[in-house]
């Protein structure tokens, strides 16, 4: 028995057979099967010691049964014949108790999905426990060499998504992800760095530890409070935190329909600085890519912000029908209360090097990332949150020391209207339900308080 060997076959033919078996058992007018597989390995370490190393393999089957426009959904991880019979029966039974859904658009027919073989990297899929442990050791030793300690995680995983329905639609996609995060610590000071890549061989863990250590600078003897408005440079991690919150609060069709999105009253008004373009970019193999959503709608790059003006919200088939639009290919597995979600956020890079951004900042603060962001008013994108793992004081374009963490409370769209510079080097990192790729930016003003 080889521990690293695949336990569940996720090959296309095997999953297609499984999906067809479930569809054949489902006594409904129409039916859809979604198969989601995860084979994830994760090592965590703190203060230089590996304290958790886990592996999980899951293959979940979700079946949506439709009878007379009544929809029922059931899921299971029991993929035996009996398990398939029970899940099909449950889906049909739920549909029978449901009221007709006037907005249900029906299931899509067959489609030739684009194939993205570059989304799968064998080096990532076949990573061994020893190799992950060696990566952790490299991260830890690199931090120790610079006089610090390191905590964080390293994960490698492979994923599969397959969609089939009784209208002969079939889609299958497999990809890999590798993640690294490190919090470097020197005394009370901490610094952070993280990466996401489909290919585990593309990131230098020692370099990542050095990046984090460069932010773990002891605090200056500054005035006790950062209270006031500061010119600020946001590192890509901080930008990603905000972009993820924008996606959560306002770029989904459900929030627009419920009137809670900042897009509702924006029209052609600039939401952010005109130098910001934001896309959902699901076909870029680096993102990691996904060619179709959980309903089998093909994905395409979609503009969310262009020159700072809101362009689109994302739809699944149901919300698209309600809005008189077409699905944008952003359905999450049904049913879910959140509706569609953009999971491949990509902020267009600018033309400034890191030093040019620091020069543009001049005198101000460099913020690494945020922590525990909470929504106060989604229509204004008004949030509260704290800085974390590196708030650095910059004087005349040079980092001169660190400050203590601080809180901001306000509209992040208002802050992003003051973006005056965008970096040319974007970082890809993991986020809720997907990934974000973005560069650093310089803001004219951000109000902070202790």
């Amino acid at each position: 028995m080889t521990p690293a060997a695949a336990i569940i076959s996720w090959e296309e033919d095997a999953l297609r057979g499984l999906a067809q078996e479930a569809l054949a058992l489902c006594e409904a007018d129409e039916a859809e099967v979604v198969l989601q597989g995860t084979d994830q390995h994760l090592a965590r370490f703190s203060a230089g010691t590996l304290h958790q190393h886990t592996a999980e393999q899951t293959l979940e089957l979700r079946i949506r049964a439709i009878r007379n426009d009544r929809v029922g959904v059931a899921t299971t991880t029991d993929l035996s014949r009996g398990g398939l019979e029970r899940v099909s029966h449950r889906a049909v039974a739920l549909a029978a108790r449901q009221a007709p859904d006037p907005h249900f658009p029906g299931l899509p027919g067959p489609c030739d999905f684009v194939r993205i073989p570059e989304a799968h990297h064998e080096a990532t899929a076949s990573r061994t426990p020893q190799e992950r442990e060696a990566t952790v050791r490299t991260l830890v030793q690199a931090a120790q060499t610079l006089g610090g300690t390191a905590s964080g995680h390293h994960a490698t995983s492979r994923h599969v998504l397959a969609v089939a329905n009784t209208r002969c639609l079939w889609g299958w996609h497999a990809g890999t992800r590798a993640e690294w995060s490190v919090v470097a610590q020197q005394g009370e000071a901490t610094g952070y760095a993280a990466r996401l890549s489909p290919d585990v061989m593309t990131v230098d863990p020692a370099g990542l530890a050095k990046e984090a250590m460069a932010r773990a600078i002891p605090p200056l003897e500054l005035p006790a409070t950062l209270k006031g408005t500061h010119r600020v440079m946001l590192e890509p991690y901080a930008v990603a935190d905000w972009l993820t919150m924008l996606a959560y609060m306002g770029f989904g069709a459900t929030s627009v329909a419920q009137g809670t999105s900042f897009l509702c009253e924006a029209g052609e008004t600039s939401l952010t600085s005109p130098i910001l373009d934001l896309w959902d970019n699901p076909l870029d193999p680096l993102m990691p890519a996904r060619p179709f959503d959980a309903e089998g709608t093909p994905k395409q790059p979609l503009a969310l912000l262009k020159n700072g003006v809101g362009q689109n919200c994302v739809h699944d088939r149901r919300s698209a029908r309600q809005a008189g639009r077409s699905s944008t290919g952003h359905a999450l597995p049904p049913p879910n209360p959140y509706g569609a979600f953009p999971a491949h956020l990509d902020l267009g890079p600018g033309d400034r090097s890191r030093q040019e951004l620091l020069d543009l900042l001049g005198d101000g603060l460099l913020i690494t990332r945020f922590h525990y962001i909470s929504v106060l008013d989604p229509r204004q994108a008004r949030l509260t949150g704290l800085t974390r793992d590196g708030v650095l004081q910059v004087r005349q374009g040079k980092i001169v020391g660190a400050c203590r963490n601080a809180r901001y409370t306000g509209s992040i769209l208002e802050a992003l209207r003051g973006v005056v510079g965008v970096g040319k080097d974007a970082i890809l990192m993991p986020s809720i339900l997907g990934s974000v790729r973005c560069p650093a930016v310089v803001l004219e003003a951000l109000a902070l308080e202790p």
């Binding site: 521990p3 336990i7 994830q40 809180r407």
Partner: protein, 479 residues
Amino acid sequence: MREVLDWCLDLCAAHGVTYGDARFVRTFSEAVNVVNGDITRLSSEESVGLGVRVLVGSSWGFAATSDLGRIHVQAATARAIAIARAGHRPGQPDLLLGRPVRTRGSWQTPVLVDPFTVPLEDKIALLLGADAAMAAVAGIRTRQAMMALDRHHKIFANTEGALVEQNLTEVAAALEARAAVAGQSAARSYPDARGHHGFTGGYEYVLGLNLVSHAPLVAEEAVQLCTAPPCPTTRTTLVLDGSQMAIQLHESLGHAVEHDRVLGHEVSFAGGSFVRPDDLGRLDLGSPLLHVWSDATTPGGLGTYGFDDEGVPAGRMPLFEEGRLTGLLSNRETAASRGVAPAGVARASSWQRIPLIRMANVHLEPGHHPTLDALIADVDEGIYMATNRSWSIDERREAFHFGTEIAWEIRKGKLGRMLSVPSYKGRTQEFWARLEALGGPATWGLWSVPHCGKGQPSQFARVSHGTPAARFGDVQVGV
């Protein structure tokens, strides 16, 4: 199913591991959501699988599989052993787990009305009835009514001889109305925000919420909030209801006393704690009124069970007594490092995840003011806030900012005008030192945090807090 666990433990024994455990979990869930009269979610979910945890010397390994065939279960066990061996360094001292856990027994949530036997039509009708009651109020833009039911069948066994079986049943339901009036928008919930107000127990808990009869007031208050004046920015006396006290307790004290946070294991993700390892018995938050305890046996609590996911029996222990730190939430490993018994609060969110130190039910002891009215009667000027809306706290659990759905000004011992977008902020130790008074048992109730996040891969635990209304002096509000 015990045979499946034996496949794991036999392989562990054959490989001479230091310790091994296997945990089978079958979770069955049903959810109904109604939005503006449409049933937007009607789902039935089943998740079945097995997690195997292995200790080799000083190194843990864990693997999980959803395929329960013998070859797959044994392969998962072999994976866990291989992972543990990859991290083991010969010569390092073995990791200690304290006294062996050889518990044998079973436990199930007391249930009067099995929620899975209640016809789905009845559940839908209940939510549609509440929806209709909210719809009768002019100015409501979005109405939501939600119900979620879960049952977890768990069997745990370890190489020390433990074998425990549990059936846990959870129910949850809630309402939310969002109004849009005069260009303003506001939301109001019942019984609590964030979608669910949950219990371990049967359908009797859902019926006891009386959703339909509360629906009109939920909608009316949402409409009134749209034109209510905003909470002023000032320092004042602050009275909090049980809902907000639950999240205050959860974020500022509950997480802070999790032993893995104290040791820095979560520093890169969920964060650390202002509590240091040597603070036990010394740290004094400065309020003799503050008595906090952990109790995984509280009837109805979402953190109520017979045994944790290390097979340790559920129990009760003090965390703060008269404001002084007297306990930490620990698992077998961290408890052994202090030479004490584990708290019985190691929990995994599913079969795929390892057990982590989690709050079970963490409660604040009630005080002597018999009612809310009594608590505010001697307040000359202040604000009463109710129902948590937003929460944010730094990674050391010190600087916090909370918002509630609704507030009322207090003038000369009476509630006055309704106030919108209430919020307050503070620092944990200063804040608790300003605790002036606690409501009595009549103001004490169970509130839930159904999606408490921690760990990588992320895990969401269900937690309950028993909290009374409380009064604090000189707090910054309107921030």
